[in-house]
Subunit: 152 residues, 2 copies
């Protein structure tokens, strides 16, 4: 039942479960309400009491829902897909070297200095890395490389 803020649910199955649960809860609430309404008209319960019960009931529901929504964690980030080497594109020696330095947080210029190469060369390597990994940003490359165990 871990509902995420980004989307409403992780999967269709979970979403269905969520909707079903909410529907059931609503149904219960309405049933309770109607029951009370019945007693209200049948036994002349005091209006104050009736309204109070309704108020408390919905206040409780609201607190419950709101609490859950607020607590709902900020684990919003990743698609969290169990990736498995989707491409046969293997990285070359140099590319792996550069990739590790990228993951270590170095800039292209720093990598160039470290490897005694031109900045343009590093840019070429990084772009080739991105192409092979199917990404277009270095942060994505880090994530993908981690999932593929290319970097620690």
């Amino acid at each position: 039942m871990a509902v995420r803020p980004g989307r409403l649910a992780k999967s269709k199955k979970e979403f269905l479960k969520y909707v079903l649960f909410m529907g059931l809860l609503l149904a219960c609430a309405i049933a309770l309400l109607k029951t009370f309404e019945y007693y209200y008209f049948s036994y002349k319960i005091k209006t104050d009491v009736f309204i109070g019960v309704v108020a408390v009931l919905f206040l409780s529901i609201g607190v419950y829902l709101g609490f859950k929504a607020g607590k709902k964690n900020n684990y919003t980030q990743q698609p969290a897909e169990p990736v498995k080497l989707p491409m046969e594109m293997e990285l070359s020696q140099r590319e792996i070297e550069v990739l590790k330095l990228i993951a270590a947080g170095f800039s292209n210029q720093e990598i160039a200095d470290k490897l005694y190469l031109s900045l343009n060369t590093i840019k070429t390597h990084t772009n080739n890395i991105y192409s092979k990994l199917g990404v277009n940003r270095r942060t994505q490359a880090i994530e993908t490389a981690r999932n593929l165990n290319l970097v620690p």
Copy 2:
């Protein structure tokens, strides 16, 4: 200055204030209720409508309170690990949220879209994160955050 878990058990004085506030809120709600009740009897509003208004009103109050309460304890709930914190600079709720999205490989614009915020706001957050972590690039922030177990 992360989330102060103490709202419910900080000090007696504060607790009293809290109770007082809640009492006042309840009083307001009841006053509103009574007003409605008056109109109810005076103008013969349909019972269903009346009950509906009451329900929605208290549901809203409940959701608001519950959401606030739920968000509060977000911080304390998970790790319970007294890991090293190298600097007293703690990241705020929002900053941690942004940091996780950064580590997941999203661009600032994508993060802004995801959180329904302005790009400028995200930039402010990211710069604050870098300052607090003592870095000056997002890739470095990812590395540092991972070492501090701020992100998986």
